[in-house]
Every structure is written in structure tokens, then in C-alpha cells.
Symmetry: C2
Subunit: 318 residues, 2 copies
Amino acid sequence: MATLVVPQPVPSEAEDCEKLHKSMQGWGTDENTIINILTHRNGKQRCLIRQTYAEKYGVELSKALEDELSGDFLRAMLLWTPHPAERDAWLANEALILKDNSGHRHYVIMEIACTRTSRGLFEVREDYHARYKRSLEGDVAFHTTGDFRKLLVPLVSAYRYEGAEVDMTLVSPEATILHEKISEKAYNHEEIIRILTTRSKAQLNATLQHYNDQFGHPINKDLKKNPKDEYLRLLRASIKCLTCSEKYFEKALRLSMKGLGTTEEILTRVIVTRAEVDMKKIMEQYQLKNGVSLAQDIKGDTSGDYLATLLSLIDHHA
Amino acid sequence: MATLVVPQPVPSEAEDCEKLHKSMQGWGTDENTIINILTHRNGKQRCLIRQTYAEKYGVELSKALEDELSGDFLRAMLLWTPHPAERDAWLANEALILKDNSGHRHYVIMEIACTRTSRGLFEVREDYHARYKRSLEGDVAFHTTGDFRKLLVPLVSAYRYEGAEVDMTLVSPEATILHEKISEKAYNHEEIIRILTTRSKAQLNATLQHYNDQFGHPINKDLKKNPKDEYLRLLRASIKCLTCSEKYFEKALRLSMKGLGTTEEILTRVIVTRAEVDMKKIMEQYQLKNGVSLAQDIKGDTSGDYLATLLSLIDHHA
């Protein structure tokens, strides 16, 4: 359910590199060619292009792009081009070293921890080692505090089982534990953290379905008693990412374009990280929820090469 | 610094399997052949033998061994033969599902978490998925409580950076945090847990060296204020495993054979898990600390095929 479209047959990486190089030579830049090539190659193909480009022209493709492009268009291209694990390591590190206190960092880390496959998340941790000479979980623990740390460190350290098996004997007891702790307002209780951070997604889905049936409310409704509590907001978002990530991403996209101005940072992140994964499902959810297509809203809120890049990644043709 | 010795040239796995099969046919068992072959093959070779044996004779080698051997000898062979990650997953699961409260489980989990390589520990988690359909960290969290859980879950979930780089700007502040929290008797403080469970071994070594220089005591001395506190005992053992594991293993071996009787379970575990890694260093430490060789003590405490297996794994010839 990716929106990424790769032409068949796909040109060789040598051919792609030649065109990319030509599009960035001399005066002016042929942005269309850059967009047309890069947004229509999958992760493996983009890796080969980067490798070939560096060998052939003695300069990293990312460096060449930085010299020619700018603004949101540049950022989208720089984030789209790398291998997903490399991109995530970079996004996580950028979020962690940000000195602001907007809570932005928590969402980037949580998204990576909860919506990648178990192997994918481990690859981010491997890439983080290679790039930053530290562990991802170490940096998360160092740069967060309190309840946020308590939740994020195990989320990012998890290697969840991904089989469909559900241990039915655990479903009711663990739903009851969650309900008890939430009723006591012990939202940061170690048992809540344990269940959310170590159970497989299949197991969690069964437990939360049982919660709903047994107690008459979805867990996220019970976690909304204090809507302004930032930790509770992150907890709800984590649960959404673990159980129905397309709804989380739909909302992130919607809020990024709501009202005046656009939070390009979120818009870009969601589109580049999901185009190759489940963007179609997110777009269906968007249409359902907003009565308007994602493409239409992006067109209303962005422009130029940045707009063209995003539309191409979600496979929209004007 | 492994003690494992593999003959050069090594026989083919078909040849090994034939001999193993013959040694277990008819009346009686040729234990010497089994010991001679299996204790002189490395992990990869043993995997090939197991695979070939199952294909050739339609029965798992482990099943064949179970039918012919018994007691500590059988357990040593069953634990030695598998791939290290498979063995560790099995040991961890066995420890976790034990219903006793001896604290034994904590040490097995801690040893695996603190003395394997980062990649090795991750392979244990992968194997645990395949074998038990759950995550290792999930089972650790489910089967432990309180401070033990607080320490063991992040230990077992860690993917530590393994480079030699040390961030010197962190050494003094983190040594100070450790000292402060220990002085306040806040032994389970999240900052102690964070530092011990997320820092690379090189970083930790530098921090603990600084601790010693700055405050005049090794950290483990300061953690010994209440020698009977089981959590503190585990904390000290974790630090030993992370910074000088040969000393931890020397002591485990020593205590396993101290006084009347032998704790074969520990003796076997340490020897089978270290023979292919750093057993030489552990034996040097043993000689240094006890004025007697490990082989000599093993000879005094065990006998028969079990003794022969252990001696062969530590490369001792009578």
C-alpha cells in the first residue's frame, strides 16, 4: 500500500546519475528531472544511485543537492533519498539534539519506535551506532526526563514479536491491569509501560479490544481525562501508532496543514517516511476523515518544487 | 582467548555424524567419541553437524543424546551443542519460567545481557522470538518485579555501542551522579539505571575509573553497604560483568564448587558459554585468585563423563 511508483523497466543507476548530474550542472537547475528520478526509485535503487553518483563524480549526491536546492524542497529530497534506517537515525538525532522544549522530539522518537517493523527499528539502532558512535536508547535516555523518558526508552529499545499469535490467557488480566491503573490515574505506572512497550502489536490489539468490550470505552478515551497533559497526549499517540498508525498519521497530516500556515517539518516527515510503506491507507483515512483528498489540501498549502515532490511521492497527477 | 580446540584438518560433518551415530547404536554408548567430537568443534561446525545428523538419520541430535546420556553430562552436551544465541535463549527462558524465588533467574538474564556482544545479545532476542513467540524483554518484564525488573529489562533490551570512543565530557558528570545517588542510598535511581544500561562498556569503564579516582573507592565497594541486599548484589554483579567479566565468572566458578557439594548448573553454564569466548582469561584469573588451577578444582568436585566434558572444553589434558 505504498504510493511510490517505480517505472518498468527502471533505468540503470548510471543513466540516472548522468541525468541527475546534468540537471545540476552550469547555471540553473532542472528540478523536474531531479524530482522525476528520485521520487520514482525505491530504497534499494536510491542507495545504488547515491553510491554510483559518489563514485562517478567524486561528490556525495546529498552534497550536490544541498548546493543546488533549498528550503523545504531540499529538506524533502535529503530526507527521501537515504535508506529508511539512515533517515530515521538522522531524524531521531536531529530531534534529540534540538534544544527546544516543544515536545516535538518525543513524537519523532515515538513514531520511529512504534510504526517501524521490529527489524526496521533495530536497523535504525545499528545505523545510529555507525553515525553517532552512541546508542539510540542512550541518547533518548540522556535527552529526556521523567515520564517521557520512562515511556520512550523502552519503546525505542523494544524488539517486539511480530507473529499473529495471541496469548488469550493474558488478554483479560492485562486489560484489567490497564483499566485499574488508569482509574487510579497512575498513568506512568510500570505495568502500563510494560504492557505497551513489550507486547506484540497483535497481543496489544487483542488486549485493547477486550478493554473496550469490558469497560465500555476505548482506552484512549479514558486517557483523555486531562486533555492538556503532554505525557497523556504522547501515551495516546503511542497507542494509536501501535494499533492503527494510519489514523495517527492522518491526524498528523491534518494538523500540519490546519489553519494559517503549515508545519512543513511534519508534513515532509510523514510523507517521506510512509510513501514507501502505507501511504495509500493513510490517504484513504484522510479522505474519509476530511471529505477532501490529501493531494487537494497539500496543493492548497504548499507550492513550487516542494509541492511537486510531495505530490509525486503520493502518486498524484494534476 | 577461547579454550576450544578444533583439530586441523577438521573431519567433514558427514564423517562426524557417522561416528556420532555409531557411538549411540546398539547396547551401550561410546561416550568418549561423543565428547571427543562435539567438544572440539566450533559453533558453526556444530550447527552443520546437527543439520546433517537430522537429515541423515531423521532424528534431532539433541533427541539422540537425550536417549543415550543422562544427568549433568547430558545437560552439558545439550547446552554446548547449539549455536550460542539459541543456547542463551534457552537458558533465559528456562530461568524465567522457573518458579523458585532463589534469584537464580536474575543472574542468568544479567549474564546474558552484560557479557555477550551487542550483536550477540540481539541474536538471542531474535532466537527467542522464533522459539517462544514472545519477546525476551517481554518475558523478563513479566517474570520479574520491583528493582530487579527496573534493572533487568533495560539491560536485556540494550544495544550498546561497542566502539572504543569515550566522550570525556560525560565521564566526570556521570561519575558524580552515580556517587550522589549511591550516597543518598537511592540505588534504584533512574539515573543509575540509565548510565549502567545505556552507556558503552568503554564509556562505563572510563566513568567508573574516574569514580574510583575522584571518590577514593571502587563503586562496588560503595554498593556493599548492605551485603545481604539481593538487588545490590545483582547491581554489583552487573557492574562486574560489564567492566571485568572474567572476575565475575571466576567468582561464579569458585562459589559453584565451594564447600560441600557443587552447583553443577552454574559450573556447566559458565564453562559452556565461555569456552568459545574468553575461558583462558577466566582460568588465569582463577589460578591467580585461588592458587590452584580451575582444572584441579573441577577434578576434585566432579567425575566421569561430566568431568571429561568440562576438562575437554577448557582444553585440559590429564
